[in-house]
Structures are given as C-alpha cells and as structure tokens.
Symmetry: C2
Subunit: 154 residues, 2 copies
Amino acid sequence: MSLDTLRGTPSNLNRWADMSDLLGRLRGRGWRMTSQRRVVAEVLDGDHVHLTADEVHARAAQRLPEISRATVYNALGELVALGEVAEVTTDGRAKRYDPNAHHPHQHLVCSACGAIRDVHPTGDPLAGLPAEERFGFTVSAVEVTYRGLCPNCA
Amino acid sequence: MSLDTLRGTPSNLNRWADMSDLLGRLRGRGWRMTSQRRVVAEVLDGDHVHLTADEVHARAAQRLPEISRATVYNALGELVALGEVAEVTTDGRAKRYDPNAHHPHQHLVCSACGAIRDVHPTGDPLAGLPAEERFGFTVSAVEVTYRGLCPNCA
DNA sequence: TTCTTGACTTGGATTCTGTCCATCGTAGGA
DNA sequence: TCCTACGATGGACAGAATCCAAGTCAAGAA
C-alpha cells in the first residue's frame, strides 16, 4: 500500500481514532510494520517528546543495534507525511520530531539551554492575521515559537 | 572596533536613526567598510528580501566575483549580531536573511512554491500565551509563521 | 505452510549548509 | 605615507539529510 493510498482514507482514520497509541493507529492505517518501524514509533510515543533524527536513531539502536540512519529518516519522513508526527525547527540545527501532532500546540524554547515545552495558548492563532494581510493566500496553519529563558537559566 | 563595542552604543544608534539605508547605518555605527561587506549589505537592502546565504553569495559574486563564501557568512553573522538583519528559518533547509529587522513582522509562506511575504498582524502576539502556560519562563520574543497556498499555487 | 512479490532496509556515497583556520591583504588612524 | 589590527580568502572539515543499488522480508495468495 502506497503512502498516497494511506493518506486519503478517512474511514481508516476514523475506525482507529479511539486507539490512543501511535503504533495502533499506524497498524490500523495499513502501515507495513517492520521491526525497524516499530522501534522508531515506540521511541517517539509519548508526551513532550522532541527528538532529533539522530536521537531517535540512537534510542532505536539500543533496541535494534543494526538499524540504519537511512531507515530512521525514511520512517520519520513517512510519519510526517501521514500527519502522525510534526517536524519542528527550533534552532537552526537539526529538525526535531514531535509525536503530539493530534493535539495542536505551540512551543516555548529556552534561548540558553534549548529546553522545549509544549504550550497551549488561548484563542485561534490564525485569527491574528486579518484578511487584508493575507494577500490572496489560503492560510491553513500557523507555527508559533515563544522564546525566553527557562527557570533554571533565568 | 569590536562587535561588543558596536552593539551597546545607544548614542550611535540614535545619531543615525534618520538614515534609511542599511549601508549608511552600518557606516555610522563604525562597521569597518570593505568592498565585500558593501556588496553584501547592498544585496540585502530592500523590502521583502529573504535570501539564503548562498543566494546572497551568488548575487554578491555578480558584482565582486572573487568574494568567498566564508566572507559572506561572516558578514551575515555580524549583521545579525548588530540587529540589522534577522535570521528566519521557514523550511528545514538553509536559513534566510531578512533585512527588515527594524519593522517587527511575521511571515506568510507558500507550502507549495516557498514564496515568502512579510505580514503585520494586529495585536501583540506575546499576549496569546497566558501566564499559567509560561511554566516560569521569561518570555521575550515570539516567531510566527503562517502557512498556506499563494494565489499562484492555489 | 510455503511461495511470491513489491515494499522495506542497508551502508556507503553524495549533497547541502555552515564553520574553522592559517595565511594574506587592506581600511583607516597616526 | 606608513602601520597594524581587523577582515578576506579558500580549502579542509563537520553536521544533517538524501540518494542509490543490492539485499531482505512482511503479508497476502495458493
């Protein structure tokens, strides 16, 4: 089954909506399950997880030492395409992967130590952009990153 | 004169505040002017400019063929440190350099073609994060990127 | 259960972005 | 005009990510 097929199947999406775990949702959507993909998904499962691809690889390799970096990149790319994981770029360095994609949220980043917290602001952030400032764009998403100092670094 | 010296001189900052051009401000702040730095500043001057370092280098090289990439990176880094240019990361790829740093704004990015527009939303974006969602952080800045499709790609 | 096949994994090469460093050149003050 | 500290150079290097050809395997079919 191709990624394109997986992407556009609302019936599959809904059928498994009650499963809380990433792994179950993926299996339910027909994602071909391999030992490598399983450990990548397991490493990413949870709250406040913001790992780089290399960190995911390192943790996956603890359980499956022969897993390659290319496989981790492939799996992460597909999870992002499926909408199960969000890519976030908080510094200019490596992208981070956030499995909390089903709960819209924003990020609060410490400028000193790089710590990242999920935050949930009030109101619709899209509403901040009036129509006359949209220049004909169809605006569908907004990414917000707050920066400051965490309690430890302040 | 060192960067540290340049950074913290409000008198210099104000003395040249009426100059509209980047080049003039830099010279007024004592930035040592070389032919390489001049073309980098000239390439960046203007509105709605969001060039990558490589694009800056390519345009600078049209006027000064022997300019090196390291020099462009050095100059860009200093312009950012001086607060004259802002770094923006709209995709996971190369950083872009935005000379519009004196007019706070946000970015509207086309998910298809990557086009970038400066936008000016209403209200204070920092106000969107209530105190109970700040977890003890001292929040000082916020970056907002709206995503969607531009008129050409829609 | 075994077979089959297309999808997945591997690891090494490659690209892209950015930094570092020793050496050379020069802007701007004396 | 001369000095010299600061800036430029380009090649090496490093980190992040992608590409590719060859080998492997999950899952449906028989």
